[in-house]
């Protein structure tokens, strides 16, 4: 724990806190807006005060969930203030936490009492939901108590390291709990058959004067909650850490604002008008203000950093913090699917995920409490993250299965973007702060490849998923948009069984490629060998041989082939075919004839390969040849014994490159076929993507086969080495095991005596 060294930090911490407070105040703006404009959803200040006295007792009767959550966030703000005042006394945080849990329980017991008054299915759902809420609050309480007990017993032993672990534990716990709550909310359709919007509709009918701002407030509240939690557990006094915790909150606020914006745009376009006019105005104002505040916070932080860049900052454990951020983001991810409508089946899956998450949490808690696996916190944290991610993604998956395309990907994609941006900011911050060099390198590495990672998700993986989904359905393009009906595997069966062209085209592509690849590679090798000698006008020849790489493109090649410029004029192809027919079976003749027919094409495709071979050949040590010649080796022998083995990796590279180039070429028949199918009215894109997938499979297999065929084989020495290394590793593991057991037993005996 670091004491304050620099007054600048203190200032930063104060500033940050004030800004956070302001951001919290912005939460209240929509509410004021509602009051100011005097909507139907009017609440007088008096009313709200009276409501706040029995806290949430009247929840089930007349108020709304949105207001409740607003209160929660206000209370959390108060907690935050308290924590700020008594920040060094750590026990207090736990106490406040406990108090929160108790309050929660009280609230929801009340809710349960009043819930039966609400008629119908919704009431039942409500009861169940609050029941679950009570359950998890109780769990929190138990955990808090456990923590206090733990702390009481192990006080002397708490070192800096112990604290870290506890932090990790508590943080993991909190994140799991928040996850749990979200899961519970998400699995609501299990109890209540209709979607969220229908629920809101029902709610409005049942309780007319309520305004349901759930949609807009829940994410906000949870964000604040999470921010406050991080705030609580990560900061210790007015030091750098405090400021950092603030920056977490700032980032969260930022993300939150984005969420809010989305919510607003989504909520009011639907048939149910969720946000009233006054609230809307308040919301927009609050959003803008929060955005500005968050920006300010980040700015302040950045300036502070620049000013104190030489300050020695030692984090508690950068990894745990990183984890914490990831977990937080996972929570945020969870919020997203909640916003959108989930179909009926989601409930069951939600239940499954809920149970899985519970089990995970239990395992986590057990592991920590038993304290047997001290080093596994990080891994458990990752597990938690995974669980959260699955909960976040499952509605999308379900929609995918149900072909409910209205919502698939819309939310997820955008959110992934936010996530990546937030992670990038955090990663950058960590880069500046991390004192552990190897870890720092890792973070910096991630930051460097971050754009690519985002690109892979947005432009590769998610389109791939969508394409796969398309391949399982038939798609009709209507003026309004695409109409997707699921057909199962019909497209695939159709591709193979009913399409007359596809299997033959695929087969001819396969045979062509298998023949062309060796031809091109060997040809390139020959030319590069020729060029490698002492040749005059070498530059000119290289220029000529590389020329096709520049010129080759679909339309140009198309034009040339159409004009018959792709065949060598003096070569009589028919004569060659005639000769071949006498010696070869007919199917082979066709491909070979094809080869001769497109001789120039094949030659033109080998420009790059020639250059690669050439530069590899030039790098072979000349003394090798000299030595071979002194020993009496001929040029022929030199080629087989020296040249070929040395450039073998290049052969592999070229073969693979050629195969890929041929396969993804615009001139490729099968590609043309698929592209034509894509925009055909009858079969449409679903069919085309099924074909594309089959094609990708064949291509990947082929490239893999080529790579395997030419890969450097392990010789006896390598095999022996690998074996030995494996053995050594196993022995070491055994040794470690024995040592640990001895240690454990030693302790036991020491206790016994």
């Amino acid at each position: 724990m670091k004491k304050i060294k620099n007054s600048g930090n203190k200032v930063v911490a104060h500033l940050m806190f004030i800004l956070n407070l302001l951001a919290g105040m912005c939460l209240l703006l929509p509410w004021f807006g509602a009051n100011f404009f005097g909507d139907i959803r009017l609440y007088s200040v008096l009313n709200s005060i009276t409501l706040s006295i029995p806290l949430f007792g009247g929840l089930a009767l007349q108020t709304k969930l949105g207001v409740t959550l607003m209160y929660v966030s206000v209370i959390l703000l108060v907690f935050n203030t308290l924590r700020y005042l008594y920040v060094t006394k750590r026990r207090l945080t736990i106490v406040t936490y406990m108090a929160g849990a108790i309050v929660n329980i009280v609230i929801f017991v009340f809710t349960m009492l009043f819930a039966p008054m609400v008629k119908g299915l919704g009431g039942k759902m409500y009861t169940l939901w609050s029941f679950l809420f009570v359950g998890c609050s109780a769990f929190v309480l138990v955990c808090a108590v456990l923590l206090i007990i733990m702390k009481a017993f192990v006080t002397e032993n708490i070192t800096a390291k112990g604290n870290q672990k506890k932090e990790a534990f508590v943080f993991g716990l909190v994140s799991s709990i928040i996850n749990l709550v979200l899961i519970v909310i998400m699995s609501r359709p299990m109890f209540y058959k209709n979607s969220l919007f229908a629920y809101v509709k029902w709610y409005k009918e049942a309780v007319p004067e309520t305004s349901s701002t759930i949609l807009s407030f829940l994410p906000l509240a949870i964000t604040i909650l999470a921010g406050a939690t991080v705030h609580m557990f990560l900061s210790k006094g007015y030091n750098e850490d405090c400021a950092k915790a603030n920056i977490f909150t700032a980032i969260l606020n930022l993300v939150c604002v984005l969420l809010l914006g989305k919510t607003i745009t989504q909520a009011n376009t639907d048939e149910v008008k969720l946000v009233g006019e006054g609230e809307m105005t308040g919301l927009t104002t609050g959003m803008t203000l929060m955005l500005i505040i968050a920006m300010l916070q980040i700015l302040v932080y950045a300036i502070a950093h620049l000013r104190d860049s030489k300050l020695e900052v030692k984090l508690v454990s950068p990894r745990i913090k990183f984890l914490a951020v990831i977990a937080l983001m996972a929570i945020l991810v969870n919020i997203f699917p909640w916003i959108r409508v989930t179909p009926d089946k989601t409930g069951y899956i939600g239940f499954g995920v809920l149970i899985a998450s519970l089990v995970l949490m239990a395992v986590y808690a057990l592991l920590v409490i038993i304290k047997k696996y001290k080093g596994k916190f990080v891994k458990v944290g990752y597990l938690c993250f995974l669980a959260s991610l699955t909960t976040a993604l499952y509605p999308n998956l379900i929609d995918l299965i149900n072909n409910n395309t209205e919502y698939v990907g819309k939310v997820g994609n955008k959110f992934v973007l936010y996530l990546v941006v937030a992670l990038a900011i955090e990663g950058l911050l960590l880069c500046f702060e991390c004192s552990d060099n190897t870890l720092k390198e890792q973070y910096v590495g991630y930051v460097f490849i971050l754009p690519w990672l985002a690109g892979v998700i947005i432009f590769l993986l998610s389109p791939m998923m969508t394409s796969f989904k398309y391949s399982l359905s038939s798609i009709a393009i209507k003026p309004k948009g695409m109409e997707i009906t699921p057909v199962g595997y019909a497209n695939y069966t159709q591709v193979w069984a009913e399409d007359a062209n596809f299997p033959t085209t695929l087969m001819s592509y396969f045979v062509d490629t298998v023949i062309s690849v060796p031809v091109i590679v060997v040809f390139a090798l020959i030319i590069s060998m020729l060029l490698n000698g002492k040749i005059k006008f070498k530059g000119f020849f290289r220029l000529v041989f590389f020329l096709p790489v520049i010129v080759v493109s679909g339309p140009v090649m198309g034009m040339l082939t159409a004009q018959g410029a792709a065949t060598v004029p003096s070569m009589n192809v028919t004569a060659i075919t005639g000769i071949l027919e006498q010696y070869l079976p007919t199917f082979a003749v066709e491909t070979v004839a094809n080869l001769f027919n497109n001789m120039i094409m094949i030659l033109w495709y080998s420009g790059m390969q020639i250059l690669i071979f050439l530069s590899a050949l030039q790098k072979i040590d000349a003394t090798l040849y000299e030595a071979a010649k002194i020993d009496g080796g001929s040029g022929w022998e030199c080629f087989w014994k020296i040249t070929l083995p040395t450039i073998k990796p290049m052969i592999l590279l070229n073969a693979v490159y050629t195969a890929i180039f041929l396969s993804n070429n615009e001139q490729n028949e099968i590609i043309v076929y698929i592209q034509n199918m894509m925009f055909q009215a009858g079969k449409g894109y679903g069919y085309a993507s099924a074909m594309a997938w089959m094609y990708a499979l064949v291509e990947t297999l082929m490239v893999g086969a080529i790579a395997l065929l030419l890969m450097k084989k392990r010789d006896a020495y390598d095999k022996k080495m690998a074996k030995k290394l494996k053995k050594m590793k196993r022995e070491q593991r055994e040794l470690k095991k024995v040592r640990r057991r001895n240690k454990f037993n030693g302790k036991k005996y020491a206790k016994a005596f």
Partner: protein
């Protein structure tokens, strides 16, 4: 004095050899078949013959293009003329040029190919450096993903991407090329990342570490040390990227010019795209011109030549870099 003596004696030798020609069998053999040190004349002959033949085959389509594009209709029909046109005739170029709206389209092509190239150059460098310089978890997995994305046919992701772009309203604008390039997913960006990766791996780590000891951060070390030493790689990537974007017609048509969406007419087009739709465009333009001209293969060849001419010029000017870049980027490994 001694010099002239020597000369005379040599001359005398030659004279005697002319008078009584004798052949040293070994010498002749050496001349034709070569020795261990030197290639013989015969071998040289064979090598040059092969190279010239193959070189001709390589150049054949281009020569064909040049010769055909000069021909008039009469020359085309005349079977006695196969290569050299009866007169130099640039009329075909004129017609092809007007039908393609050459100058306007040329600038557009440069824009369409150039802007993503610039982004590719920068972004791929950053990513390649990240892969080459740092060790982090999942690096192998990411590399595998990189290579996998290179193998994967683009037809799989094409349509969902199109739908996505359409929903965001970026089809028919340059953004459809710029955004993917910005996130390292441009045309063949995987290859460029690999090129940078190979190159940055050769930059000695000690150099970077020394810079960091002197007070440079990671980013500063990247910009001040790694980038200046990567000039050949940058050149390679920008050249290839430009050429490949230039030659890409299908994606350009789908995403940027938006020809599939007939309700909106976009102005952006490239030469290669125009070439692809040359025949239909040609009749349109010529018809509106009032005078109907017949489209023939000479004009088509002229159009083809016109569309590749800019890259050809770039290639001839920068050919040294093009060819050597492969060498220097270390694709072949050290």
């Amino acid at each position: 004095m001694a010099k002239s003596m020597l000369k005379r004696s040599k001359w005398a030798q030659f004279v005697t050899w002319i008078k009584h020609p004798t052949f040293n069998k070994d010498k002749v053999r050496k001349f034709f078949m070569g020795s261990k040190e030197k290639n013989g004349f015969l071998k040289q002959l064979v090598v040059y013959a092969l190279l010239i033949c193959i070189g001709f085959v390589y150049l054949y389509p281009i020569l064909y293009m040049v010769s055909r594009s000069m021909m008039e209709l009469e020359d085309l029909l005349d079977s006695s003329i196969s290569w050299i046109p009866s007169s130099l005739n640039f009329n075909n170029y004129k017609q092809a040029g007007t039908s393609m709206q050459y100058w306007k389209t040329l600038w557009q092509s440069i824009y369409v190919a150039g802007a993503p190239t610039l982004i590719n150059m920068v972004v791929c460098a950053v990513i390649g450096y990240g892969f080459a310089r740092f060790e982090f978890r999942g690096k192998k997995l990411f590399m595998a993903l990189l290579i996998f994305s290179f193998i994967l046919p683009s037809q799989i992701t094409m349509m969902p991407q199109y739908v996505m772009y359409n929903a965001r309203g970026i089809t028919g604008t340059m953004n459809a090329f710029l955004y993917p390039a910005l996130l390292g997913q441009g045309l063949k960006a995987q290859l460029f990342i690999l090129i940078y990766y190979q190159f940055f791996k050769q930059v000695p780590k000690v150099l970077l570490e020394a810079a960091m000891i002197d007070g440079a951060g990671y980013f500063k070390a990247f910009i001040k040390i790694a980038i200046p030493s990567a000039a050949p790689a940058i050149l390679t990537v920008s050249l290839f990227s430009f050429v490949w974007y230039w030659n890409e017609s299908y994606l350009t048509e789908l995403f940027v010019t938006g020809i599939k969406n007939k309700t909106r007419v976009f102005d952006l087009s490239t030469l290669v795209v125009k070439l692809k739709n040359f025949n239909s465009n040609y009749s349109d333009v010529q018809y509106t011109g009032g005078v109907t001209q017949n489209n023939n293969e000479s004009i088509q060849m002229a159009a083809t030549l016109l569309s590749v001419l800019p890259v050809l010029l770039i290639y001839f000017v920068l050919q040294r870099y093009f060819v050597e870049s492969i060498d220097r980027t270390g694709i072949t490994g050290e």
